[in-house]
């Protein structure tokens, strides 16, 4: 599942550590989500979307909606 988390974070000039602190998770968790090594739980996905003021599907793109690299 592709994620726009890195882009959204960069738009706000937040470091991974800052974002992790806002979400109440570790920096490793943020990094793993950004590098697509880990897919967050539904509750964390909602928390991320809420933090960026958008919908879950605007942050996490299902494979059929992901842009070809």
């Amino acid at each position: 599942m592709e994620s726009r988390l890195r882009v959204l974070r960069a738009e706000r000039n937040w470091t991974q550590a800052e974002l992790a602190q806002r979400l109440g998770v570790s920096r490793q968790t943020v990094n793993s989500i950004e590098t697509q090594k880990y897919e967050p739980s539904l509750s964390l996905a909602f928390a991320i979307a809420r933090l960026f003021g958008c919908k879950v599907e605007d942050v996490f793109l299902p494979p059929d909606r992901a842009q070809p690299q």
Partner: protein, 138 residues
């Protein structure tokens, strides 16, 4: 859905001092005391039974502390711990069964297959699994 810890609802941070130093020391002390008690007290006596069960409450405290610590982890760290334990638990069983069979086969070594000898062997797969899981998500 309440699995995301936030500043308001995060579990109370447990004392890392008690987790990392006090509890293992207490467990080691109770184990040494139990071994000493079993050695000096008459076998089969009530006192020897008390000595043998001495580490159990400390071990229960250790388990409680681990569970509390696990609840304070974030979701990725929980998964890492789960993957480490998924390797460590069956590996520990295999090691214990093998040690038991070696003991029955007459390969006692020095001091038999007792806890001080087995503990590092049982913990090794956990550390190995932890390193593997951390590497996978780093």
């Amino acid at each position: 859905m309440n699995s995301v810890p936030t500043a308001d609802r995060a579990p109370k941070p447990h004392s890392s001092l008690s987790n990392s130093i006090v509890i293992p020391l207490a467990f080691a002390a109770s184990y040494i005391a139990a071994r000493w008690g079993i050695k000096v007290l008459p076998q089969g006596s009530r006192e020897a039974l008390v000595a043998a069960l001495l580490p159990v409450p400390v071990f229960a405290w250790l388990i409680y502390s681990i569970v509390r610590g696990t609840r304070a982890l974030d979701e990725l760290e929980r998964r890492i711990q789960l993957e480490a334990l998924a390797l460590a638990f069956p590996a520990a069983l295999v090691i214990l069964f093998t040690a038991g069979l070696l003991d029955l086969a007459g390969f006692h070594g020095e001091g038999n297959w007792d806890l001080p000898r087995l503990l590092p062997l049982v913990l090794l797969p956990y550390w190995f699994g932890l390193a593997l899981a951390r590497r996978r998500y780093s």
